[in-house]
Symmetry: C2
Subunit: 413 residues, 2 copies
């Protein structure tokens, strides 16, 4: 274990690089528009590769377009410490989501270079392809193939709204690499990321060691009633599918207010037919997103929502269907890696807390192939996926100091 | 007043004509697809004109494509008794809506011809253009121009979804007539129509004298909250625009359950942004349709909904806006014409009731230019605007017998 406290990141250099990088695909409202495999995403990738090389890294692009920058250690046979995030964005998204983790990783390398630190293990920084999943679904596709959650042909065949495939577009921008998309000999994985929630800002703490990620269930609910004229149809004879949807939405909100659970629930997508001002809704399809760090809580909530749907259907005389389209268990990160982040924060003299993430990350897939944890920095107002996304620069630097120390603890041990 | 009870309609002839007419634009599921100014609507018009001429009527097409068939009376200077309905349909609509009133009017003329009855006043039957308003908005455009609610240029400029105007399409199908679109010297107007609601079937009564039409208000409500990730955003920090919409939908339903009012209320159209499974809804726009035969009840309901919107916004921390996009007063028909329908039903030995219509009709515009009433026949299950729309033929015939007698009472008096 190294107690060398003189190695620190250069916040100004990092800031200049961050600002320059975010000129690529910049939007007028202060965000960036760099969806996966777009021209702006290609420019961002080109810039990364250029900077990786300038930092002396050995650049490798794999078959999914994941970009790796490798810095060898003293022991050529040692397993690799991997860290990074992603640089694709939402459509008109924010400047911090993903970018902080990739450019933060590069700043860690620069700091090691400046100080002439040689690590025992090799270290690699990574930018994963298609984390956001806004252009090609599902999200986290690059890390998903890497962790063998999806196979390569499946990923290549994913289509955007214009029918262009991931494979074609990857080829078009020149990032279908030769390296195999699979973990080599990994020691562990760290990811620095913005929280995308309000906890850290509310607590006034700059850094969190992330203990794991909420599990969740996604339900598609359909109600079918009868479309009739909104004038002559008496209230007592209505079979209004949207009244059913309103009932269930209220029930989801009440369910999450149950004391003693961390359950969150959202009705996010709602489609109504025929969707006319003077016609009683015949059909409504809507989604329910239920999350908790406790799998039993999610399971109980799913059962409760199924019951609420059945009760609403009975009250209103509706046909109903509930389809569970996804169920992901809670994902606790590696205790050792969490502890490393905690010690790194203490070494950096940085106030920290422990946190469970409500959102999924590439780290979830990495956690299936190597010990993993994450470092969160605050999101002002909890906002993400929007141009107004913002993190105080001091907090970004604090998180990067912690990342630097965590990587050193694992690479020099 | 004539007490000649030997003149009756021929239900079988009417039925043959009804079935033949509904082969035009017939759908596989037993409905018709004859939206305004479509090729099928042109064929239906051609057939009508042919039948009008065969019945000895003097056919006139006005500048809006409204088709009139005139039968002169003994007194060439007397004001005209007008009666009819429309033959345009919803997209994949039913066979009865409108058609019963136009072909029923033709059957009345045939019955008078068969019996050699000459009336004092001229009588005219009419098929109004674009009653449904599914292809060109607003609905009831032909009768609306006739009653000077809209001007001709406005009507000609209405566009369908493909950008084709009403004027161009009217020209294309050859129904932009030379006659001016305006009331001549009218004595009164009657319209036979399916109820489009469940009252008559529920009461087991074949015919209603329609006393008037509900007034209504249409509101557009917008809630704006904050789009955030459905995972990391705690329930207590959410500003979920769809929860607001669900609150107001439930409140509208409860409001209509207030004792002692005939109020009906519907949330029919709902649009959600960004409408993604894992994002808290930022913006919801929805409509509220409120109807009663009592204008004060509609006014009070509008105020209550405005309050419910404000309270929901306060609870959830939303911005809100309520726009009243239409308010139409209740439209009581002419007492004399209602009484004529009642007497006609009694003369026909037909059980009847009095009813207020929840839906609007061409008769509403006619009521602004001449004394008006309507005759309703039952809609099975209250269904209309769908291929399954159905009325027992005996009820159609009963309604037509009443129409025949009402017309004679006014034309021979």
């Amino acid at each position: 274990m190294t107690a060398d406290t003189s190695v620190t990141v250069d916040g100004d250099r990092f800031r200049d690089r961050f600002d320059a990088f975010n000129e690529i695909g910049a939007t007028e409202a202060g965000g960036v528009n760099r969806p996966a495999l777009s021209d702006a995403n290609k420019q961002a990738r080109d810039r990364l590769v250029e900077w990786f090389r300038e930092a002396g890294l050995d650049v490798r692009v794999d078959a999914m377009g994941n970009i790796f920058g490798r810095r060898e250690g003293r022991d050529p046979d040692a397993a690799t410490v991997l860290f990074g995030s992603h640089v694709d964005s939402q459509y008109n998204g924010g400047r911090y989501d993903g970018v902080v983790g990739v450019l933060g990783a590069l700043e860690v390398v620069e700091a090691l270079n400046d100080a002439g630190v040689e690590t025992d293990r090799p270290i690699e920084i990574v930018a994963w392809s298609n984390e956001e999943g806004v252009r090609f679904q599902p999200d986290m596709l690059g890390s998903g193939v890497y962790a063998a959650e999806f196979d390569l042909e499946y990923a290549y065949g994913r289509e955007d709204d214009e029918g262009r495939t991931f494979g074609e577009e990857l080829e078009r921008i020149g990032y279908r690499g030769d390296a195999p998309c699979e973990p080599g000999d990994l020691h562990c994985y760290f990811e620095l990321h913005v929280e995308q929630g309000p906890f850290l800002e509310r607590e006034g703490v700059p850094v969190a060691a992330v203990e794991g990620v909420y599990g969740f269930a996604w339900l598609n609910v359909t109600f079918e009633g009868q479309a009739n004229h909104a004038g002559p149809t008496p209230m007592t004879m209505r079979r209004d599918a949207f009244v059913g949807a309103a009932d269930v939405t209220k029930a989801v909100r009440e369910l999450t207010a149950t004391e003693g659970t961390d359950l969150v629930g959202t009705v996010g997508s709602v489609d109504v037919w025929p969707n006319a001002i003077n016609v009683i809704p015949e059909r409504v399809e809507f989604t329910v997103d239920l999350r908790s760090y406790d799998n039993a809580t999610v399971a109980a909530a799913v059962e409760r929502v199924r019951n609420e749907v059945a009760w609403a259907a009975e009250r209103e005389g509706l046909d109903h269907e509930v389809e569970e389209i996804m169920r992901i268990d809670a994902d606790p990160f590696d205790e050792g890696c969490i502890e490393t982040v905690v010690e790194a924060a203490e070494d950096a003299g940085c106030e920290y807390t422990r946190l469970v993430s409500g959102a999924g990350h590439d780290a979830n897939y990495l956690n299936t192939v190597t010990p993993t944890s994450m470092i969160f920095v605050p999101s002002v107002d909890g906002v993400s996926h929007r141009e107004s996304e913002f993190t105080e620069w001091d907090d970004v630097v604090a998180g990067t100091e912690v990342l630097l120390r965590a990587v050193r603890k694992r690479a020099e041990g």
